[in-house]
């Protein structure tokens, strides 16, 4: 169930240049059921900035009623969000959308998780849940440069983790699609910038690929038609409520 809640900031820290990890607490967490869902955050009480900011859920701790997001502080809203300190309240609407369904794979299956930049965080919760289900997980995480890398250890604990950097300062030089793996995968999950999603879909064409899309949003709940994308059958999907995660074949990007 979607709730709107003043959640309490538990911690906020810088984990890479301009990348913040923010943990919040509140009963809203109990509704978070699927990795890949997102929350819509009002970063200030002011009318400026006016709109909420969509941010993916990165980690869920049901026992502590806490969840974590990781975001890049770039524009007006996310910079204000980065100023929130422990104990402050943040207005969260969520959980929103449909995430990655870990049910798509069975125990013992092999899953490849490919994340680019700020698309990496939602894969962490997914990888955890896949692991819990006994799925064998491999990660490819693409970043610009060595300094941008975050959560390497956390992913390492969950499965083989290959880092790529555009400048080659760490891991494989190039993009996430530069990595050649000999293994066969039953399912591929990917999240990142649209050009990366396209490249991944091309490289793994014919496979079962799940992608997570981004679009400018108004309501975040499916009411305003801001965030639609076309589908192959000339229909449309709303990224905020039908997605953000789709089977690659479902949508035209």
């Amino acid at each position: 169930m979607i709730q709107q809640q003043q959640m309490t900031v538990i911690s906020q820290r810088l984990i890479a240049p301009n990348i913040y990890e923010l943990t919040m607490e509140g009963t809203l967490v109990s509704s978070m059921t699927m990795p890949g869902q997102f929350v819509h955050i009002k970063v200030s009480n002011s009318f400026d900035p006016l709109l909420r900011r969509p941010i993916s859920i990165c980690q869920i701790d049901q026992e502590a009623s806490r969840f974590t997001v990781v975001y890049r502080a770039e524009g007006k809203g996310t910079k204000l969000l980065a100023e929130k300190a422990a104990g402050e309240k943040v207005d969260v609407l969520g959980p929103l959308g449909k995430g990655f369904s870990p049910d798509e794979v069975v125990r013992g299956a092999r899953a490849l998780l490919i994340g680019g930049g700020i698309g990496i965080p939602p894969l962490l919760q997914l990888s955890r849940e896949l692991n819990e289900r006994g799925v064998n997980v491999t990660h490819i995480l693409g970043l610009r440069t060595a300094a941008d890398v975050f959560y390497e250890e956390a992913f390492n604990e969950l499965g083989e983790t290959i880092i790529t950097t555009e400048d080659g300062s760490k891991g494989t030089k190039g993009f996430v699609t530069s990595v050649e793996l000999s293994d066969e995968f039953d399912v591929i999950y990917t999240c990142g910038p649209t050009p990366m999603l396209k490249a991944v879909m091309q490289k793994y064409a014919g496979k079962k690929v799940f992608i997570s899309l981004e679009e400018r949003m108004g309501c975040g709940i499916g009411a305003c038609f801001a965030c639609v994308c076309k589908t192959p059958d000339d229909g449309y999907k709303k990224i905020c409520s039908d997605g953000p995660v789709f089977r690659a074949e479902e949508v035209l990007i």
Binding site: Q4, F47, L50, L51, R52, C224, A226, V228
Partner: protein, 314 residues
């Protein structure tokens, strides 16, 4: 207590004068997961056109200071599906529907209005002659008084329910459009639609919206809406449903004092999806604190002699 909010308008017996604005609430399905739609005074459904429309390419929204731009482009499933699926579903709630009708030619408007006005829960039409986001149709009907009048007449001729006309703020003289529409037989006005605006992305040097321009809504435009309602309400004798930047019960009252007899809330639903029920809950107390017994006492009070008038009476 909420008795202080009951309002009668042509075709509409409202338990309260608060309703979501067209295009900001879809057909209510999403919000029905958040609260009971029967709580609302009415619902203005998304603009419906004769044929289904996909709308404009994305990005369709952009944020501005205390406002937002949208260029949805009237995406909707078309008259047939709205009649067959959306309106019957909405009929499970105890809330009158104001059906917003859009088109690209007079005939579209007329045909859509005729059909949709037959739906049992549609208690009024809202004629959208002010959408800035479609190439042809919409706004050109709303900037020329004569055309606006003709369209109103044609739709009045076929509609089974009262017709409200939604005015565009992008005009030199909104009073003359309002009068024209009134003389065309409109039962009421709704105002304002969005102001045409644009944002440009510095990195790409291109407009942020794929459609280039979009409609500006939200708190930024509230003073423009207040001014126009203040001017129009003094020059027509049909009621006005006011909108443009409403986010709080205080805003609602400001619109009433300007001359509105009911209000719609648009953009604020995105910021706080519970805004309509919250306003409905807080409005009675605000009225009391300001010494009013009924919200209708407020209509036009900024310009009326107080003795003279206590709100629109049907």
């Amino acid at each position: 207590m909420t008795n202080s909010l009951k309002i009668d308008l042509p075709g509409l017996h409202l338990k309260n004068p608060i309703m979501p604005a067209s295009g900001c609430f879809g057909f209510g399905r999403e919000f029905s997961n958040l609260y009971d739609l029967s709580k609302l005074g009415a619902i203005m459904i998304k603009s419906t056109t004769l044929e289904p429309r996909f709308g404009n390419p994305t990005p369709r929204v952009a944020e501005t200071n205390a406002g937002m731009l949208n260029a949805i482009g009237l995406q909707n499933p078309g008259l047939h599906k709205v009649m067959a699926e959306e309106l019957p579903w909405l009929d499970t709630f105890d809330v009158p529907i104001i059906a917003n009708v859009a088109g690209t030619a007079m005939e579209d408007y007329v045909e859509t209005a005729k059909e949709i006005s037959k739906a049992p829960n549609v208690h009024a039409l809202e004629l959208n002659i002010s959408c800035p986001n479609v190439k042809c149709g919409g706004i050109q009907f709303g900037t020329d008084p004569e055309t606006a009048k003709e369209l109103t007449k044609a739709v009045k001729n076929v509609s089974e329910v009262p017709v409200y006309v939604k005015l565009s703020p992008n005009v030199s003289d909104i009073v003359s459009i309002a009068k024209a529409v009134e003389s065309g037989g409109a039962d009421g006005l709704t105002m304002i639609n969005t102001l045409v605006g644009m944002r440009i992305d510095l990195k790409t040097a291109k407009p942020v919206l794929a459609n280039k321009t979009g409609g500006l809504s939200g708190p930024a435009i509230k003073p423009v809406a207040i001014r126009m309602i203040h001017d129009v309400s003094q020059n027509v004798s049909i009621p006005i449903i006011g909108m443009g930047g409403i986010s709080t019960a205080e805003d609602v009252l400001e619109f009433f004092l300007a001359g509105a007899s009911a209000v719609a809330v648009g953009t604020a639903n995105f910021v706080n999806p519970f805004v309509c029920p919250e306003i409905i809950d807080t409005l009675p107390e605000l009225l009391t604190s300001l010494g009013y017994e009924h919200i209708s006492e407020c209509t036009g009070r900024s310009w009326r002699k107080h003795e003279q008038y206590t709100g629109y009476r049907p």
